[in-house]
Amino acid sequence: MNLVRARDVMGLPVVSILSGEDVAEVRDVVYDGEAHQLIGFTLNKRGRFAGRLKAVLAASSVSAIGRDAVMVDTESAIDDEAAGDADLRDLGAARPVLGNRVLSADGSELGEVIAVILSTGDVPCAVGYELKTDGRADTSFVPISAQMALSGDNLVLPVEATEFIRNDLAGFGAAIASYRSPALEAGQ
């Protein structure tokens, strides 16, 4: 499983596989913290003084997220219609994830959320959070699970998820591959 921090996607060009044109640029990642789901991306126009595009890109319309570009099949993936989609438009009320204190269900503090981790597969989705723990130089990663609870202040992790915490993203990719399949299917 290939993983990327959500903020590293910001600023990437959105390129059509059909035309080879850069049709937009990722402005921001739209993420529903409550459902732990990647909704899509808001966009900027390409070019030096270009502003915001009204159209948005839904996660389901993405063909691939790579290191250098977000790929879509055709320009029509960028959808003016979807701009009216409540999910993508109205996230003002969504609970923030970044900055939440992470607690395990048994009451131990694991750290603070500093990044959302996305998988870059066919339909990109959120798979985990990156945590910073006081007094430690490195960061750790926890898998997203359906049993997580989020208040906007605290993110509470089921105890069984804590055994999948990894300190490097490569190990985390492998760990969630084994964690997600049973846990998420049961939860959805």
Partner: protein
């Protein structure tokens, strides 16, 4: 079958077979939307007044001169596709190569093509040659290609630790 490089044919004179007049020189190429075939040769002029010779009017792409069937064959550009090519917005040489997985795998340094058919045989990049059966599209931003090896398919697992 004879093969040439874009860099070798640049500036080669274009001569009309019927009048024996030099009608231009090779300035660039208009390629199809996948980047697999030459559609026309840019032989004179700039911008809206650029003159192109359709590949179908090339009677022989010779080692010393490109022979056009008739001095009437060259035309001014007629559409946006040709315009973007003669302006240099959509060209193979110098264009970044992007896989369908969103990975930049280099820049096109040169193009090998077949002088009878105008078919691109391969493009040369710093990382090695790429064959047109992998090409998906040629646009102003990139030549989009299918990935072949794992290193081209995957984003690196080890992320930079910036920010």
């Amino acid at each position: 079958m004879s093969v040439e490089l874009f860099s070798h044919v640049d500036g080669r004179s274009v001569v009309a077979t019927d009048s024996a007049e030099t009608i231009g020189s090779v300035k660039g190429f208009v390629l199809d939307r996948r980047g697999c075939n030459i559609e026309a040769i840019h032989i004179d002029g700039h911008g809206k007044r650029a003159i192109v010779l359709p590949w179908s009017a090339v009677s022989s792409f010779g080692a010393d001169a490109v022979m056009a069937s008739s001095s009437d064959d060259p035309t001014t550009i007629t559409n946006d596709h040709e315009k973007s090519a003669v302006k240099g917005d959509v060209t193979l040489v110098g264009t970044r190569v992007l896989t369908t997985g969103g990975l930049d795998i280099g820049t096109v340094d040169d193009v090998e093509f077949e002088t009878d058919s105008g078919a691109v045989i391969r493009v040369v990049t710093a990382r090695g040659p790429l064959e047109p059966d992998r090409f998906r599209s040629l646009g102003s931003y990139a030549l989009v290609v299918d990935p072949v090896s794992e290193s081209e398919t995957l984003t690196p697992r080890r992320l930079p630790t910036k920010g």
